[in-house]
């Protein structure tokens, strides 16, 4: 559970794949921003990749569903698909839950 240790990664690198300005994409970005501000203030970096503009980037991270959030750091790599409307499950998916418990 080293990845979940508090303070291990200085910066959380998150990448959000979206397709244009679809409602799901917009909602996902908004939800992600809110969760990070709450749980990782000042320790996160969000990169939004619009596949409509850069379709060639989809294969690299094995993107099938949209929107997809990829946690690049800390390792291991995690993938969360959906508009992240459920905060609790997003936190579990990002493995932020144990960190909050401490």
């Amino acid at each position: 559970m080293s990845a979940a240790d508090p303070g291990t990664p200085d910066i959380w690198e998150l990448r959000l794949y979206v397709a244009g300005q679809s409602p799901k994409s917009v909602a996902a970005f908004a939800n992600l921003k809110r969760i990070c501000e709450e749980h990782l203030p000042g320790r996160y970096k969000i990169e939004v990749i619009d596949l409509m503009l850069h379709p060639q980037l989809a294969a690299g991270d094995q993107i099938v569903a949209i929107p997809t959030l990829v946690r690049k750091l800390p390792e291991p790599l995690r993938r969360i698909v959906g508009d992240l409307s459920n905060t609790e499950r997003t936190l579990v998916g990002l493995q932020l839950r144990p960190a909050q418990n401490e």
Partner: protein, 580 residues
Amino acid sequence: MNLQNGGQSVATPSLPKAPTGIQGLDEVTGGGLPRGRPTLVCGGAGCGKTLFAMEFLVRGVVEYGEPGVFMAFEETAAELAQNVRSLGFDLDELAKQKKLSVDFVRVERNEIEEVGDYDLEGLFVRLGHAIDSIGAKRVVLDTIETLFSGFSNAGVLRAELRRLFRWLKDKGVTAVITGERGEGTLTRHGLEEYVSDCVILLDHRVIDQVSTRRLRIVKYRGTAHGTNEYPFLIDADGISVLPITSLGLQHKVSNERISSGIPRLDAMLGGGGYYRGSSVLVSGTAGAGKTSVATSFADAACRRGENCLYFAFEESPGQIVRNLHSIGLDLEPWTKQGLLQFHAVRSTLHGLEMHLATFHKLVKDFRPQAVVLDPIGTLVQVGTRREATAMLTRFIDFMKVEGITALLTNLTSGQDNLESTDVQISSIVDTWLLLRDIELGGERNRAMYILKSRGMAHSNQIREFLLTDRGIELQDAYLGPEGVLTGSMRQAQEAREKAVALAQKEAREAKERDRARKREALEARIAAMRKEFEAEELEADRQALQEEAREKVLTQDREAMGLSRHAEKASTKASQRVGK
């Protein structure tokens, strides 16, 4: 040939089709898969779905200049490239030329957390990008059902798949979508609901430990198609589908005659031998000489410089060649020159369809003018009689369409009716030679006759069939009061006849001599009589002379007497006396 278009008329090309380049499949489908529409290829594990899809794509690139995208859900690009390299497909090279693009889509359930709404736009983007970047006309999705194991929201998946197939149609690409066969359904997740234009089912069955691959077109909207199950084969050249059952009777016929390799048999067959492109059945009991007839035919074909393909199910090529030395046939030069090719396998090696598929392939590759199948009866061991009959019918039809002269041998067992074959193909062959043993006088001898030969005036005689060290000889069988005599009985009979003839000749000569002797005797007698007569004549002449002499003497005496009496001058007196 105006007779064409008999059995397999294909609908007018209302529906554009994309040829697959897969051997035989385009014949069955009447031109290929529906162009610009998705086709579902389904079947169980290991039935050849991926290979089918890959061959469709690669042949599309290589043979029809249509670039393609392969979206793999189960194997990586490297694995795929490796798997098809043995078929001579170089995916890396094609990818380098921007003609083919392989995209591996990995979906791992345990890596994915689902939170809220999503769709599969990512897949669309990837596919769309791949299609656009190489201008693809063909797309393969292998096996898209894997998505069902990666995502839990089946409702979303179904809606997205429906959208995907719609989207593929709008893109105008010809797509092949593979699907795993489910229990009682064509695919496990009911893909057939979405792909309704064309569905092809692949099947891999094992019956009696013999495996057979089959292909069936379950549905093909808007076109006529073959509905049978077609056997297919996967080998070094990829997939070959065998559309033999779709053949009609429309082959060209030839009037050319070719030698059977046995001069007297040619003479029996109306003088010229078999018709080119006809099928010949040689049936007979064990050891009747079927293989010898078959190899004579093969030898004759090679002598004409033709290719001959010899399927041997019971003997190895080496054994056949060795055994034929004993009847003065040497096939070795032909095999060395590549004119004669043996294909020796046990009939139980694989299923009937596989055999047929192998025949097809070898015939297509080697292009022989003559083919020998020796013997066909063993094929019954693989399947049932009915299956073997169907297979051989297809084989013979195929030979006829290709214009190849086929010679098949068949073993008839002792208790069976001689004039039948255990695979019941006698009615479809053109020429039927029967070899049989005739048991007589403690000997078995071989005899041959022509049971039928379509389209030629053939001999109706039974000939004795001799295997000599100079090849096969056909002797006139002796027809005596007790029937046909063969072997030493025939020789004995011939000897008897010779003896009788000799005796008659001797008698005739004796008579001749007798007459000559008689004539001699007669002539001798005539000569003796003549001699006797001559002697008598001589005697008579002598007596006449003596008498004359005596009379002269008498006259002289009288004159002398008159002179002595001094009557007158001797001479005048004598003459006066005479005048008185």
